[in-house]
Symmetry: C2
Subunit: 412 residues, 2 copies
Amino acid sequence: MHVIVQKYGGTSVADTDRIRGVAQRLVEMHREGYAMVAVISAMAGVTDNLLNLAHAVSAKPTPRELDLLLATGENAATALVAMAINALGIRAVSLTGAEAGILTDRTHAKAKIANISPRQIHNMLDEDYIVVVAGFQGQNPEGEITTLGRGGSDLTAIALAGALNADACQIFTDVDGVFTCDPRLIKDAQKLDEISYDELLEMAGAGSKVMQSRAVEFAKKFAVPFEVRSSFTGLAGTLAKEETRNMEDVVVRGVSIDRKQAKITIRGLPDQAGVAGHIFSAIASANIIVDMIVQNVSTGNTTDLSFTVHENDLEQARQLLKPIAKKIGAVELTGHDGVAKLSVVGIGMRSHSGVAAKLFECLGHGGINIQLISTSEIKIAVVVDEKDAATAARLTHQAFGLARLAPAAALS
Amino acid sequence: MHVIVQKYGGTSVADTDRIRGVAQRLVEMHREGYAMVAVISAMAGVTDNLLNLAHAVSAKPTPRELDLLLATGENAATALVAMAINALGIRAVSLTGAEAGILTDRTHAKAKIANISPRQIHNMLDEDYIVVVAGFQGQNPEGEITTLGRGGSDLTAIALAGALNADACQIFTDVDGVFTCDPRLIKDAQKLDEISYDELLEMAGAGSKVMQSRAVEFAKKFAVPFEVRSSFTGLAGTLAKEETRNMEDVVVRGVSIDRKQAKITIRGLPDQAGVAGHIFSAIASANIIVDMIVQNVSTGNTTDLSFTVHENDLEQARQLLKPIAKKIGAVELTGHDGVAKLSVVGIGMRSHSGVAAKLFECLGHGGINIQLISTSEIKIAVVVDEKDAATAARLTHQAFGLARLAPAAALS
């Protein structure tokens, strides 16, 4: 029995026509002999509507109740997909996360999957049912509904594919796959045929929000390959998998742009143990996500520390840090929005030198000032002025030879 | 600990303002020292929207999936009510039917409550929580979600009140209580302070759709008194309870009108055993609900049989019965829509004579022709022309002295 897990996002089940389209595709695959498991998100817009209702009755909705509320979105879409399949004459069953055997920890709103008991799914597949599972949700040890956080349906699909030892896991979405750069920004961006988990993680962390990082991390940890592909075109997408040797031949897999960033700098910070911890635990306790952190070598006995946050969090972060900066004797605290982060990602960087130099040169020739630099093993990220972001992406994309040969250019 | 179960229907939680109003009332009762359990219906309109979605993807949605789909309506409203209470600073917890311990049989779409294990509710009440329970739903022995059918939230509330041995069960709805007649039809109809289960059942079966019969039957079986009252006025409603001796002093408690009825008559039916069974099992197998059945003594060796159905079912019933009538040798099969049923209900009828005579006289004086008559121990029902229904109700209401003394009349 060849098992295929398919995940359909909110836009793929946005209305009843699309739901019937999803049912049609599942039935076709079933007729070809595959054992099909579908993971379904809430219909597009439903989750936001539910959140609006919640915030209309409570400034700070209790997480337990929010989980019960949000899970209704996936439950409804899941029931509808199963009905639509049954209407085509093929037996389907809809399962909640709990019924599908997805057990989580006790955290509400962002539960971790603790274990999967796919007995019920196996039983239904054995009886030739198409199994339709509500994404984004599970059950805690008390039997309460928990949700896995935004993007949780991807996680459900990958976790189920792992637990079922599925032959394929396909993430259907509204884009054709993972691209060398955002195709809305760079016209000749290419769709990638394959990408390593690490590269996808770095690109996800760098603004290419095809997949949530948690789902990719889970796939990496349990070695579950998955394909990101379009609900609408029928074309092959991008296969995310463990890296292979020949992947290293490509130095840079893609370029990501992360807009709406803000940069905070604390100057003249005493260069002593515990200072950075003090700062970032204050930021973390306010649930502000910090992206790049840059600290240079100290001059004398002080140092300068910079980091980026989303521009919406800038003011709150600044207010939080003011008293702390003062208390620890920093010289100056500054914050600026209107910056963007550009990242080049590729596992080939590990074995190729000169990537950073090439990036800096290309930006320099374009007259684009680099404000911050940070590197990981397979990524180089720079902060530039937001207004330079599009040009920077275009120049970088070109410099690393990522552009598709445009048909016209190929003919000339 | 005084436990009160309150049930809020769809119009009582129709928007977030009303949900906050429900939360406010629950918090006030909690502050007065009551242990509060709220049973919540889906927000008005939600269930119909979900049904429309279901019918857009499937001509005949599978009952199991329909239950998962419809239960989302109650789950969402329940979560929102609990959030709204928490926002007022009082702890509340939302429970699905399954979490509330409502166990049902395996029937989907119209499950019967098999058992209630209110341990979880007791625990939460002991910890001083307001407990908010999703109405209309339970869990079958396989752990699947089941729904109790239309009006199932009333059933949930009454069953929980029984299982918790609650001090009161209040059904909040969009009417002020049970009236002597439909107040939209009869201006001086009076709200009843109390009514026996049997009277309410006869009135529910006779078009006064304040409560579904199943919920009232359950209340009668387990002797759970309940009050029907308005969400909006704050006024006392109508208490439904076991009959007491002094209730018998009132001969007629109320008058009900059931419009949109149709009448089917089979003439010249062989007067032999099994014939009626043959006819009504055919009707029942098509899920057509038969209301009045009238058969008079036979003349010679044939008899005439009449019964009423909803006018929407007339054509189907006629088509079903044509071959059967022919086969058993009936002389004629006729069907007419455009009739209405008028019922007078009161447990006092048991010990008072002359009620039927008074009814027939009053209709006769009004020039209203009676087409069929059927009586039970506490009800007399007649079928009249639909165009006479309003006049018949007014005359009957007057004849039995049910009208409220209008303030102006009382002063004069």
